[in-house]
Amino acid sequence: MTASILQSPVRPASRRRRVNRSSPAGYVPLILSAAVIVIPLLWMAIGSFKTSDEVVTQRLVLVPSHPSFAAYQTASELVDFPRLFLNSFIVTFVGSLVKIVLAITSAYGLVFVRFPFKRIIFLGILVALMVPSQAALLPNYTFIASLGGVNTYWGIILPGLGTAFGTFLLRQHFLTLPPELLEAAEVDGAGHFTRLTRIVVPVSRPTIATVALVTIVTEWNDYIWPLVITNSQQMMTLPVGLTLLHNTESDPSLYPVMMAGAVLVVLPVLIVFAVLQRQIVAGLTQGAVK
């Protein structure tokens, strides 16, 4: 952003300038659209610091008069937040780690290892990318339940481990690597494992990071599968546990508590996004298939 502003006087930008000329009036829609996004998120944060009285009134309370963490305390009394957080963390961490490893090895195999029918196998993976995983809900439930996976970490993690997205993105990247890079290593007698861990992975770090970020965010937000495969509070992930808060209590005075819960589930992703925004946006839009 800053770079393009600094560069603009140097570049022969006069042409483009005339096409998208920037007048102060251009800022109105820019600010407006940013505000439409920011205000509801801000409202969530403010709401979580309010007292029940400030929420229940029909008067608009913009800033709580006595901001407090009371809602967060009530929230943790109603639902075991540390436990939900831990569950979400374990599921996200283990799930993402396995998925990333599988994506790297699959993409490596598809690009660098000689094997017949590679194209057909890749096509099978590519099609899976577009098959709605959500329509698989019931059969996956009966399958995992029959294996005893209800209310277990592995039951939450296992069905999502097959990774079409990461494989696809990494394969596309591996194809752009210069073949000489690996040929040299091969002539030196380096085996596949060495080539993968010493050459392919190190030079692909940015793409792997992108895949990792997208995977982590998706796992953290994942909802419908953990919702059906857990029914004990002890094993629920954070988004599922929040539903409990919402469904059992429809009392408006509990809104601060719900907002506190919403902050807890949204904030970690928001922080990661704020820091690594460029890579996340690139990962979700490049390849442009979710």
Partner: protein, 314 residues
């Protein structure tokens, strides 16, 4: 990084010709094993949890059965007959169509407008781009809760504002059409950043001299947009159309948080969940999800053809 290759010394003693010959013979067999080790786990998982369920669903859809029951009755096409002859076909397909068309249209049109705003050389547009994209990566549960709070008919901020303006605050949760409208608004709010960012990339790829030429020919901004920019970014429009339709058809978390009983928001996806896990009609749920899958399959085929085209363009 260290680029030391530990095995490199082992074979270097052999004369070059025999080494190559021996290698190529054993290599293809060894490579096959390496390939299987690399790819098989992932492929097995994909088959087990993505492809197998599609077939199981078709089988389940011929049963009258509820989750947890040991026994099921075969009903053939009974569940489909029930769906298409009862009232569900109208309401569920109708709700799905309205939700999909409104969310896809809404997020694409607003996303395009937003991308035009972001495409101007303005200070802070990088920040605005990130801000607009942010809701797309946030948990649907968190977002759903916030908007439930905002839309609350008695205590919500929106109601407070409307009352302040002397208007009456509608009961968003009391009328199925309003509930659907509310869910559509929230869904568009959450997803328009995705469309905006992809459109923005497409706009930035529009060559400046083409626009310049149109400008010299006397085309105003309006004409330049409709006659030059829009046709040039049409591949992006097709691409977005299909991806957003696919994700709208599968939308679940926002719907479930805002309207847990599916009141006014009973789409195919919602019904798939609800019939199996709340209404104890697993066979019926499987039939609905098979119908959903058939629709998605058509979309997917169109999308595959399009992606193939996109690749060829480059």
């Amino acid at each position: 990084m260290e680029a030391t290759l530990p095995e490199s010394g082992a074979v270097s003693g052999a004369p070059p010709r025999t080494r190559v010959a021996r290698r190529t013979r054993s290599r293809s067999a060894r490579d096959a094993w390496v390939f299987v080790a690399c790819v098989a786990p992932n492929v097995a998982l994909i088959i087990a949890f993505i492809y197998r369920p599609l077939i199981s669903n078709i089988y389940y859809s011929t049963l009258d059965w509820s989750l947890g029951d040991r026994y099921a009755t075969r009903v053939g096409f009974g569940n489909y007959v029930q769906f298409f002859t009862g009232s569900d076909a109208g309401t569920i397909l109708g709700t799905t169509a309205i939700f999909t068309i409104a969310t896809v249209g809404g997020s694409m049109i607003i996303g395009l407008a937003l991308s035009l705003v972001l495409n101007q050389r303005l200070i802070g547009r990088g920040f605005a781009r990130a801000t607009v994209f942010a809701p797309y990566v946030l948990s649907g549960v968190g977002i759903g809760l916030v908007w439930t709070f905002i839309f609350d008919p008695t205590t919500g901020a929106l109601s407070d504002i409307l009352r302040g303006l002397g208007l009456s605050a509608p009961n968003w949760f009391g009328n199925p059409h309003l509930t659907l409208l509310m869910v559509i608004i929230v869904y568009v709010w959450k997803n328009l950043g995705y469309c905006a960012v992809i459109y923005l990339a497409a706009l930035q790829a529009v060559p400046g001299d083409v626009l310049e030429a149109a400008s010299i020919d006397g085309a105003g901004a309006w004409n330049r947009f409709w006659r030059v920019t829009l046709p040039l970014i049409s591949p992006t429009t097709f691409f977005l159309l299909l991806t957003t339709i696919l994700s709208s058809l599968q939308a679940f978390d926002l719907l479930y948080i805002i309207s847990p009983q599916g009141y006014g928001t009973n789409t195919l996806m919602f019904a798939t969940y609800y019939q199996a896990f709340q209404a104890s009609q697993a066979g019926y749920s499987a039939a609905i999800s098979t119908i959903l899958f058939a629709i998605l399959l058509i979309m997917t085929v169109i999308q595959m053809v399009l992606i193939e085209r996109r690749v060829h363009y480059r």
